[in-house]
């Protein structure tokens, strides 16, 4: 039935919203919807043609005219609906790509392969645009966390020797059981790796 493919695409979009990865681009469905739109357009053209010729024939509209007019109307509705679904699908994916760009993480190959070629191009161009925008306000890392800062500095204890680390606040020699008051951002990785423990 007309519109079925489009509905599937929208359901796919809905599902994708709750995924943390962008699913594979649905080439076939998009293509078949475009084909459906073209078919509908041809039909609409024929219907419109018929309507026109009948109007010429007689001033009084017949019941069959109404049916034809209704057909034409519904045909147009189907086309617009298909178009809206395509746009909604693509916009949703573009939003997810934008999110990837802002999150500042390296896009892995698998995620990249799920994007269509045009989407990959979009990603790299949007990435450029965002860098440009960020560059105009270099005093603030605009891509940084949107969570309010808390505990900028923390006390840590060294769990295993980790050698020296260089920070803005000087060099720390991380020997087991020593304690330091450091910037959280400087030692985040070491905490994750189990070298340091937050007190």
């Amino acid at each position: 039935m007309y519109g079925d493919q489009a509905t599937k695409l929208i359901l796919e979009s809905k599902r994708a919203q709750s995924l943390d990865k962008i699913p594979l681009y649905q080439h076939d469905q998009v293509r078949s919807i475009v084909r459906e739109i073209r078919d509908l357009q041809r039909e609409a053209d024929v219907l419109a043609e018929n309507n026109l010729s009948q109007l010429d024939d007689s001033a009084i509209p017949y019941a069959s005219d109404k049916v034809k007019q209704c057909q034409l109307f519904v045909t147009h509705l189907c086309m617009r609906r298909d178009k809206r679904c395509l746009l909604a699908y693509q916009r949703q994916r573009a939003n997810q790509i934008d999110g990837l760009v802002w999150s500042n993480v390296e896009v892995d190959r698998e995620s990249m392969e799920n994007l269509s070629q045009h989407e990959q191009e979009y990603l790299s161009r949007y990435n450029e645009l965002v860098s440009e925008f960020k560059g105009a306000m270099s005093e603030v890392d605009l891509g940084g966390s949107l969570e309010p800062p808390s505990d900028v500095f923390i006390d840590v204890r060294v769990l295993k020797d980790a050698g020296e680390i260089q920070t803005e606040y000087g060099v720390f020699n991380l020997t087991k059981d020593s304690q330091f008051f450091v910037r959280q951002a400087d030692v985040e990785r070491l905490i994750q790796q189990g070298y340091l423990m937050r007190l």
């Binding site: 489009a6 509905t7 929208i10 359901l11 809905k14 609409a44 309507n51 509209p61 005219d65 109404k66 007019q69 209704c70 034409l72 109307f73 147009h76 509705l77 617009r80 609906r81 809206r84 679904c85 909604a88 939003n95 997810q96 934008d98 999110g99 802002w102 969570e147 309010p148 800062p149 808390s150 500095f153």
Partner: protein, 267 residues
């Protein structure tokens, strides 16, 4: 960018705002202040009271550089008095600082030794106060209508907790009531339906300019019957939300207003 901002604040954002408030400290040592982007941090003299933002107070406290002067409102007697007010005036919220909840929490966590009252007593009184106010706020929600709601005396954190529910409900009520008033205009209903699910989003009744006027007219006439049926059924449910006074009659009459704690006026 992805989503539109949610129009409300996260708990950590409210905490952040609370940390901007001023508080009095009693420095334990003397030391020089410094220039900041905002108001400069003045030189601190040992045992001379000084007002600073909460976030600075907490840093100094953590380093054992100061004691925090616990605000008067964070005492058992003050909080008990407010609790009594809450009980005695069921239609109002008692007056408390705009950030009473997060500030109380931070000070209890990080400056418990600065309290004069026993902290477990402060905690439990705070908890009582919080609960009775939550109960009031919840009761007030039944006064929801599409025009407005008045909630004097709530603090920011309390507002933030009920905000998503209130905004979404009021919005839906307005959309429904508009579709009723609109007298045949379906816009409101479509708007409401759009929010419901995906299929609603795609339910379009658009008549483009791609058909001849005559075509459009005849179709409009053809569909008129079904239209009015749909409209009537929706009108039925719309009235209920538009005039809460009548439809909520069983749960609420004039005297019942005593019960409602959120001030509610509707002309």
């Amino acid at each position: 960018m992805t989503e539109l901002p949610p129009y409300h604040f996260t708990t950590s954002e409210i905490n952040f705002l609370a940390e901007q408030e001023s508080i009095t400290i009693l420095p334990r040592y003397t030391f020089n202040g410094t220039r900041l982007i905002g108001p400069r941090l003045p030189n601190l003299k040992a045992l001379h009271r000084q007002q600073v933002p909460v976030w600075i107070a907490l840093i100094l406290k953590k380093q054992d550089r100061c004691n925090v002067v616990i605000p008067d409102w964070l005492s058992v007697s003050f909080l008990k008095q407010r609790y009594d007010e809450e009980v005695n005036q069921p239609n109002n919220f008692s007056e408390l600082p705009w950030h009473w909840l997060p500030i109380a929490k931070m000070l209890l966590e990080k400056c418990s030794d600065d309290f004069i009252d026993a902290t477990h007593e402060v905690r439990s009184t705070l908890q009582d106060l919080r609960e009775i106010r939550q109960l009031k706020a919840r009761k007030g929600i039944k006064e929801l209508n599409e025009v407005y709601l008045q909630l004097d005396g709530l603090s920011l954190m309390e507002i933030n907790e009920i905000r998503p529910f209130i905004i979404e409900s009021m919005n839906q009520l307005r959309i429904l009531s508009q579709s009723v008033k609109g007298n045949g205009q379906f816009t409101g209903i479509e708007e409401a339906a759009e929010k419901e699910d995906v299929s609603g989003l795609l339910d379009e009744s658009e008549v483009g300019d791609y058909t001849r006027d005559s075509t459009r007219d005849s179709i409009a006439r053809d569909t008129a019957t079904t239209d009015s049926v749909a409209r009537d059924s929706i009108r039925g449910s719309g009235v209920r939300s538009r005039k809460p006074d009548t439809s909520y009659g069983d749960t609420r009459d004039e005297n019942d207003d005593e019960d409602s704690d959120v001030e509610y006026k509707k002309s």
